[in-house]
Amino acid sequence: MESGRGLRILLIEDDPRTVELVRAGLAPEGHEVSAAPDGRSGLLRAAGEAWDVLIVDRMLPGLDGLGLIRTLRGAEVMTPALFLTALGGVDDRVEGLRAGGDDYLVKPFAVAELSARVAALARRGAVRSDDAVLRVADLELDRLSRAVSRAGQPIALKPREYEVLEYLMRHAGHVVTRTMLLEDVWEFHFDPQTSVVESHISRLRARIDRGFGRELLQTVRGAGYRLGDAA
């Protein structure tokens, strides 16, 4: 991993079991998780201290998650925020994003999914998204000409494969989950019944890794994919 820095995370959640699960899941990654049990204390702590990421339950006693984020954004606190929602409709996602949330996750969730999304949110500010050329090891992607090459050899990709690769390169060194790819690359907000992601990943792998010796595109079991030098 390129950044070993643990994150300071504020979890605003009233269900102690969820708090326990998130703590247990994120602590091994080196993150420090503080919990606030209700909307009001969560709002005070979110505004009063410095955090890398906020994880906010939509349904909270005192002040609900949407109102909390709206208030924070109104006060120009722009800490990246991820909503946890038990409702799980597309309406809730749109509402959450409109209120100023940056991402959302439906309960119950896989800890690996939460971990990958939290890390991606924390990086968001740091990723140089306006770089014209992305590089991972000897793999290069030119965002202006949409040209991809590895070790100087040009690689032809279909549009979707290019988009998947660009996404992976922007999150180089970090785990990208299947759902993140579906939502951000395909804009699929449902669970496809066929192997949409797997098919594309295996094609992409064949094109960028086959014949180059070192494998850059790795499968992280039970979590997703990671592009980068094998650690």
Partner: protein
């Protein structure tokens, strides 16, 4: 029953109608009564007043001798239908052609008792008694038999008229009320039986096509729908329970297995397996919730312009890869510049579901790969989209079942998926006012394929 009968609108209407008829008859009666009898009486009264004036030439102070003379003259001259009585101060009868007691002073209408008469053919008298100045009293009367008979006639005919009106009104009202009550009773009996659980029960029609038949027909149509929905709910309940059972049962097995394992790695694997089973159950419930939300129609609020051509091109590219990996092919023929109003995220899911359905079910006919074709074109003002495969297809009599929730066509559930793919697509199509039809793709009974046609009626022009 009787109290309920009198509360029916039929009886109330009849009573109201009868009252109205009575009031109007009473007005007519009053007009005729005063118009005829009143006029006749006034004429009589004038005659009598004239007679009295002729006798009492100097008013009440006319000397008794003059009065007596006047009465005698009048008795001699007048017709038999004018009557006089003259009593002296002591009450003794001085003259007269009537055999009755002297009435009190003032106007009188005298009617003879049943078989008595005042004179030949005279049953009724109208007259005035006047006190004389020197004592004594003069009574002058005229034959009022005609007046009395007319009075009797008018009264009687109106009474009979009233009676008949009232009678017919009440009988008709009770009849209508009874009939209505009987029909309502039939409806409520049917209703009670239905509430008790017999959903096949229907309300009998009389066949007359009256308002009750209209009502009964509507209620029957409603019952038809309710019966269908109930059957649907029951079936869906069964299906959900059935579909949730398998992952839950396997979850139980995995957990039980994990309990007995000592090897941490094996235990880990069993736990991962358990989580997979839970995810399957959660996926099913998420799909059910999603379907319910789409069917509620609330998503229409977020409709916006959708570039359908681009959306379909993008999905086609994605699923070309997936179909090829499954050993099949996907070809696309998408017209340029197709645009409509809708929800892009849902349309994405709809098309994806239809293609995934073709990939998973189209290949189950034996041969390895399915050839899938995605087409979209402008047809007049509409956009027609098709998803065609060359798989085993769906028999025509099962098309409706395929679009129903959990209408999975193999009862054994040998195939993957939660059985909500087509129903979800159909719900999304309905949300967009699109018609969705299933037909055989080709003329080959062994492998007819399936063609799903969607017609959107809201094409936008660029």
């Amino acid at each position: 029953m009787l109290r309920r009968l009198f509360r029916t609108s039929g009886v109330r209407l009849a009573v109201f109608g009868a009252c109205l008829a009575l009031v109007s008859a009473a007005v007519v009666f009053a007009v005729i009564y005063t118009g005829t009898l009143g006029t006749m009486r006034k004429t009589l009264d004038t005659d009598i007043a004239n007679e009295i004036a002729e006798i009492l030439v100097a008013g009440p102070a006319t000397p008794p001798a003059t009065v007596r003379e006047g009465v005698r003259t009048a008795l001699a001259e007048r017709h038999a239908n004018v009557f006089f009585l003259l009593d002296g101060a002591g009450g003794e009868r001085l003259a007269g052609n009537l055999d009755i007691a002297m009435p009190d002073p003032g106007w009188h209408t005298l009617v003879a008792k049943d078989d008595e008469k005042f004179a030949h053919h005279v049953h009724a008298l109208r007259g005035r008694a006047v006190d004389l100045a020197g004592g004594g009293r003069l009574f002058v009367a005229a034959d009022a038999t005609m007046l009395d008979e007319l009075d009797e006639l008018i009264r009687r005919s109106f009474l009979i008229g009233f009676g008949i009106t009232l009678g017919i009104g009440l009988i008709a009202g009770i009849g209508f009320g009874w009939r209505a009550l009987a029909r309502v009773k039939a409806v409520s009996e049917a209703g009670r039986e239905i509430m008790e659980g017999d959903f096949t029960r229907r309300i009998p029609l009389s066949g007359s096509g009256d308002e009750f038949d209209h009502l009964a027909a509507i209620i029957n149509a409603m019952l038809e729908r309710i019966e269908l929905l109930m059957a649907n709910i029951r079936a869906v309940g069964d299906e959900i329970a059935h579909d949730l059972r398998s992952p839950l049962a396997r979850l139980r097995e995995s957990l039980e297995l994990a309990l007995r394992l000592d090897e941490p790695e094996a235990m880990r694997a069993a736990m991962m397996d358990a989580i997979g089973q839970v995810d399957a159950a959660l996926g099913l419930s998420a799909a059910i919730l999603r379907l319910a939300r789409i069917e509620s129609g609330s998503r229409r609020a977020s409709f916006a312009r959708v570039d359908l051509s681009r959306l379909l091109e993008s999905i086609a590219e994605t699923y070309q890869t997936v179909a090829e990996d499954a050993g099949g092919t996907l070809s696309a023929a998408i017209g340029p510049g197709l645009a409509m109003t809708g929800d892009a995220a849902l349309l994405n899911q709809m098309v994806a579901n239809l293609i995934e359905n073709a990939i998973t079910h189209g290949g189950t006919g034996g041969s390895a790969g399915t050839a899938i074709a995605l087409g979209a074109t402008r047809a007049g003002r509409d956009i027609v989209m098709t998803v065609t495969d060359d798989g085993p297809g769906i028999p025509e009599d099962r098309h409706a079942l395929a679009l129903r929730r959990f209408g999975r066509l193999d009862a054994s559930r040998a195939t993957e998926g939660h059985g909500l793919g087509l129903p979800l697509a159909a719900a999304i199509a309905a949300l967009h006012d699109a018609s969705l039809t299933l037909t055989a793709a080709r003329d080959d009974p062994a492998r007819p394929g399936l063609k799903i046609t969607l017609r959107f009626a809201r094409a936008l022009t660029r």
